[in-house]
Symmetry: C2
Subunit: 291 residues, 2 copies
């Protein structure tokens, strides 16, 4: 008598850093039977098969989802609506669908647009993990270990579907937490989307200076760490900006006002304003991490 794995058939649409790492982890834990990949980049999908991340692929997501128990949509945010529209008529009746998008308001809007309502079997999710690298070759099974995965189930979400996706992520070693959609988007705008905008803009500002070659040659120690996230995938980050536009613009405005205030204090040599800001920031950072 053979026992069924936790997810007999998993379909991952978008086998990149996140989708690939999830598949690798569940496979290593023996929690999946067959893994089917799909996505737009066939070369990447061939690599995924070659690396053993997926068993097979189908470039057409409408075929890839057939008979899948769980479908993970791990494509850039801007492509989620289109993928959903394609796959919904082909999903198995019992299929549970989740996504890994870095903004959740836009995903919920996509879901409503495609279904005309909030379906019980879609559990919006977001693993707070990643590196600046992308593609299946960058994926690894331990990416989610001791990281957080945020799920933003809605009132309409089926409790069993929610439990299934929660358990799936727990198998990867992640801590799973539930959060409201809007709250998620505010928190991520602050801690991830804004910092990425600052890193991209900083590198771009310097790269456009006349003596950029000189300037980059003398980039000091902290610069490497500070700008690492500017190596992230441009397409993915474009989509995040658009998807979480309102929250992100609000954070940029807050930050810009604070930077302007600091610049004013520097201009006026206002020692107490400068010192207070630096000390408060250092205290907050030091309390946050023990580097």
């Amino acid at each position: 008598m053979s026992t069924q794995p936790f997810i007999p058939r998993l379909c991952v649409i978008g086998v990149g850093l996140i989708g690939g790492s999830l598949a690798r982890s569940l496979r290593e834990q023996g929690k999946v039977g067959e893994v089917i990949g799909s996505g737009r980049n066939e070369e990447n999908l061939r690599t995924a098969v070659h690396l053993g991340v997926v068993d097979r692929y189908d470039i057409d997501p409408t075929n890839a989802v057939v008979g899948a128990d769980v479908v993970v949509i791990a494509v850039p945010l801007g492509a989620i609506g289109e993928v959903l529209r394609a796959i919904v008529p082909h999903l198995a009746a019992h299929a549970v669908v989740t996504d890994v998008g870095s903004a959740k308001g836009s995903v919920v809007a996509d879901i409503e647009r495609v279904y005309g309502h909030i379906p019980p079997h879609f559990v919006p999710g977001h693993p707070i993990a990643g590196t600046e690298r992308s593609g299946v070759e960058a994926s690894f099974a331990t990416l989610f270990q001791n990281r957080r995965v945020i799920l933003t189930p809605l009132a309409e979400t089926d409790a069993a579907a929610h439990r299934l996706i929660r358990t799936m992520w727990e198998f990867t070693g992640a801590e799973v937490v539930d959060m409201g959609v809007r709250h998620h988007d505010v928190v991520l705008a602050a801690t991830s989307h804004l910092p990425h905008m600052l890193a991209y803009t900083l590198v771009d500002t310097l790269a456009r200076l006349d003596d950029r070659a000189e300037i980059f040659r003398y980039a000091a120690g902290g610069f490497r760490d500070f700008t690492r996230i500017a190596s992230s995938d441009p397409r993915m980050w474009h989509d995040i900006c658009v998807a979480n536009r309102e929250q992100l613009l609000e954070m940029i405005a807050l930050f810009s006002a604070d930077l302007e205030q600091l610049a004013g204090a520097i201009r006026n040599g206002d020692q107490s304003v400068i010192l207070t800001l630096f000390e408060r920031a250092k205290r907050a950072r030091d309390n946050l991490y023990l580097d």
Copy 2:
């Protein structure tokens, strides 16, 4: 017959991360005879003796410099003028003086103010190395290995003094380069001072939000690296802001205008502007480092 070490008597005023690491490195290489420490924090100086970083200390820099062949001023930029004023009358005739300040225009102005002219034996310098930690306990002998040290000698600087300071830094494993004072300050404003302002401001902006506890709890992977430099010494960074005010304000203005432009593109959903910026930044960052 005994051979003299390269620097028979070294005086380090300000035995912190930089001053302490320099002393440790030269000592390990056998390039110094006696090392005398000075500074305002007696407990730190006692620790420096205890750790073997200096042989002895004198809290009064006018005593500490007596008979020293090389004097390294490694105090925050705002204290360099005061230290110079105190020690100049007590320097040995052959003494060579250098500093490690992160801005050089203000140091040259301090020198001129104290001496009434540019003395041949002062070689302004700046090791492009450091961590976000401070104090002698954070110092280590290999801090400068494969890092750059910028010297900004002036027309009046004695060639032998310049050579001596260059050789001293080369003994630590650093690559020593010469640069004009203003050029140094522009390059450092871009690659170090501006990023520090962004990191301090970002952490402070988030730390003042209502749900800061929540926000910091979900700080994603990149956030830790991105904000590490916000743990740097507030006093030191206050002094750098003031010392390099003009160049720094110019860089903040450039950056702010670029961020405002990005915000505008996000507001208008201008895909090509956003993508172009991210792609240009990623290319520049990827060409800079192979992480």
